[in-house]
């Protein structure tokens, strides 16, 4: 993944929204993953795998793409 155009320069101060948008999205996806398999099987299990895989996939992406 290339740097989005909106990425702030290293020296600029990020807003709380910029700092927390990815962690918040991952927290929401994890929660969806944790709850969805409780409410049913089949599709809901698959949804839960996707939700819980999100933090793992993003970490692997960061370890590769955000190495400095």
């Amino acid at each position: 993944m290339s740097q989005p155009h909106t990425a702030a320069k290293p020296s600029t101060i990020r807003t709380p929204w910029q700092i927390f948008k990815v962690p918040a999205a991952l927290a929401a996806l994890s929660l969806l993953g944790l709850v969805s398999a409780l409410t049913g099987d089949g599709l809901r299990d698959a949804l839960s795998w996707a939700g819980l895989a999100a933090p793992v996939v993003v970490t692997l992406w960061a370890l590769k793409a955000r190495r400095r």
Partner: protein
């Protein structure tokens, strides 16, 4: 955020982490194989194959099953009867007294079709040892409550960690891992990345673990509160000298709750029932209602239906805390993700320990400056500038 505020949160993060890290590491390491307990049991060849019988649908009376089980345990009484979900097996737990503690209980498994014994799930071995270590460190209730307190400190460490993530990341893009500079900076970045991505999973598994350590207290509360209220007219009555038919009790409960399945029956005099009742715990058919049990109370002397009421919110919270802690409700892919996130947590714990142990001589001010600079100012540099 003001420097004094950051300092308070930094110190909260530091001290809650220091207190709980050793125990959390033990919990994460013992928990890793426990995620795959069933798979490991299957692999080690302990799986028992049920013999074929002429009529697979036949069922022996549960009174016969119970009598067969108790015949092998002289002077013992029945405590629980439970039913396997995937095979026609009845499990009977016996003990020397109706309120016998867990250590004195014996678990037996019998074929529901024939009433014959089948091998009981063995609870010893390496997995049993790991489970005991993970639950109470072989220290019983005090050990369990202590681990609950550690779980709560862990949650506090997560919250304070998220707060100080903000000043640290002020000038950094999400996910930055600076591997080319110092070793400390590299581990600081790993710690922040893996900690922040796993925060929801770690919080839920941590807090449901805390709730599970309180299961005895919560169950006793339910017994004194709702169970007592449901059976007020039985107050002061003792355990019946002669118990009524358990098969009839189960049939009566099922008739009162059509479409539900019996998960287990608690005998009179134990933690899960009253002195005078069979408590038949029924579960629904959907994934969610399967976890939420409804007890039906059957008079264990006359066999009469007494009451049925869904569990109060605190028992439902306890019941839902079990799958949410074990990760056993979404098949093998969920277990694998559970293991990966557990490993992330181990990395966060170990890197946190490394960050604290390295540069231990530096002042809190220097460390707060390191944090505010996003790790650019190492503690020594920051120290030199104060």
């Amino acid at each position: 955020m003001r420097r004094s505020t950051i300092r308070i949160w930094y110190l909260t993060h530091k001290w809650t982490s220091i207190l709980c890290t050793a125990f959390l590491l033990m919990l994460c390491i013992t928990g890793l194989p426990l995620i795959f307990e069933h798979e490991i049991e299957d692999l080690t060849g302990d799986a028992y194959v049920m013999p074929l019988v002429a009529d697979e649908g036949q069922r022996t009376s549960l009174d016969t099953v119970l009598a067969n089980a108790l015949a092998s345990r002289s002077r013992e009484v029945g405590l629980f009867m439970s039913f396997d979900e995937d095979r026609p097996v009845v499990n009977v737990t016996s003990g020397p007294a109706p309120d016998a503690p867990g250590g004195q209980m014996t678990l037996m498994s019998l074929d529901w079709r024939t009433g014959d014994f089948v091998p009981a799930p063995h609870e010893g071995g390496v997995m049993g040892f790991l489970l005991q270590l993970h639950t109470d460190m072989f220290l019983g209730l005090p050990g369990m409550l202590f681990l609950g307190a550690m779980g709560f400190l862990f949650f506090t460490a997560i919250v304070s960690g998220v707060v100080i993530y903000a000043p640290f990341m002020r000038k950094l893009d999400f996910g930055t891992v600076r591997v080319g500079r110092s070793k400390r900076l590299k581990w600081l970045d790993y710690h922040n990345l893996m900690g922040v991505v796993s925060l929801m999973w770690a919080s839920v598994v941590g807090l449901t673990g805390v709730i599970n350590t309180l299961s005895d207290q919560i169950t006793t509360l339910w017994q004194h509160d709702q169970l007592a209220e449901m059976t007020r007219e039985y107050e002061g009555m003792g355990i019946p000298a002669q118990l009524s038919s358990i098969q009839a009790a189960i049939d009566t409960a099922k008739a009162a709750a059509p479409g539900m399945r019996v998960q287990f029956v608690a005998f009179p005099g134990g933690t899960f029932s009253t002195q005078h009742h069979y408590a038949v715990f029924l579960q629904g058919n959907t994934a969610l209602t399967k976890k939420l049990l409804t007890p039906a109370l059957i008079d264990a002397e006359t066999g009469a239906f007494t009451a049925m009421r869904s569990m109060p919110w605190y028992m439902q919270a306890l019941l839902l805390s079990q799958p949410l802690h074990f990760g056993d409700y979404g098949g093998l892919p969920m277990k694998i993700l559970w293991a990966v996130l557990d490993i992330f947590t181990i990395v966060v714990l170990v890197s946190g320990l490394y960050l604290w142990l390295g540069k231990r001589g530096t002042s809190v001010d220097a460390r707060v400056r390191e944090l505010e600079s996003g790790g650019r100012k190492s503690p020594e540099v920051a120290e030199a500038q104060t």
